[in-house]
Symmetry: C2
Subunit: 213 residues, 2 copies
């Protein structure tokens, strides 16, 4: 056991006529903590695996329906707020949600599960030339992880009621963090090409959302 | 091939007398996009795997040396800013960094790679009773993913020079996103138990950082 960096446990299950193979990964700390002296190709092969802490339910069934950033969701055609729910996955104790109720906003870190592949540069929806993918919030990125500050409306048992959500129905959520202004809010932070483009276009936020379905 | 939800490719390599087994995962879209109708136990087994886009180099060798939030790093004992570098991993084209230079701040999404296990409630370093882990920014969480807004000083080729970094040396970075105030900055957002505790203690931010080593 101690000779392997990663141990895999496989589970095979059958459902709806299909065969599914699952795995869990166990790691042993063979590499030095800061990876110093580790050959680059071994660092390249490092992987981190996460299980959803819940699946989000939202009114956006398709990519084209979803607004491009959560904070512009108020501007739906009907003027209504899009609401979403997130139910805690069974593998988590309800206690993990304790003390969360007092926060106005939460960070959702999630998997862009509908993203298929990515390119080094992308053409942003607000217009202009192609940009380096890491200088955008595109879902089609090297690791298709998403980040969204959403409003917390209330918590009922294991269910979070959220507002201002720009995520697709079925989005697997990997982590929730409280939004803490001293660590997270920098209203004066310059935003490079986005600032330039918005100044040129006379706009100051992302392209408007579509009507929720 | 089409009967398996996930396909694994294994690689075995030998280094320094140890045997390492790596894998890459390929997924086929067998589950419905929003997972509607999928039995809960299958959703529970969903996993998402990410490769580091780079390994962070910082002055913090041990957990006890690192400050608790990136924005308090200015308050080091010497008054100096802690600087860090992030070099893009070899599997990525330098173009992914294009257009990033104009941003004051970046989000780093990273693996808390030194975290070992987690509990549903944790005792925060600022004091007070135990809190639900998802209502804290503790590294010891169900999915040990970290989020930090850091200052971008400059980009030289494939290397990002960063400031205000609270991450340990060797931290595997999974994603970089530009900090965009309209989507990310909510300075008036209420922060529940953290606000309460800070008001009681007459403080308005996290415990101070240790001196970088």
């Amino acid at each position: 056991l101690q000779f392997f960096h990663q141990i895999y446990l496989f589970t095979v299950s059958f459902h709806s006529g299909f065969c599914y193979v699952y795995h869990r990964r166990y790691s042993t700390p063979l590499l030095p903590a800061n990876f110093a002296g580790t050959p680059p190709d071994m660092i390249e092969e490092l992987q981190f695996t996460y299980r959803p802490i819940g699946i989000l339910r939202s009114p956006y069934a398709r990519r084209i329906d979803a607004p491009h950033q959560s904070t512009v969701v108020e501007g739906t055609e009907t003027g209504a707020f899009a609401t979403a729910t997130l139910e805690l996955a069974d593998w988590l104790d309800e206690k993990v949600l304790q003390d969360l109720a007092g926060f106005d906003r939460l960070w959702l870190i999630f998997a862009f599960h509908m993203s298929e592949g990515w390119k080094s540069t992308v053409k942003p929806p607000r217009g202009g030339p192609k940009r380096g993918v890491l200088a955008t919030r595109s879902p089609h990125r090297p690791n298709s992880i998403g980040l969204s500050a959403v409003e917390l409306v209330k918590i009922e048992g294991r269910t979070l009621h959220l507002r201002g959500v720009d995520l697709l129905d079925g989005t697997p959520v990997l982590d929730i963090k409280p939004y803490v202004p001293y660590a997270d809010a920098f209203p004066e932070s310059k935003a490079g090409w986005i600032d330039e483009l918005d100044a040129k276009l006379g706009r100051y936020f992302a392209p408007g959302p579509r009507k929720p379905r």
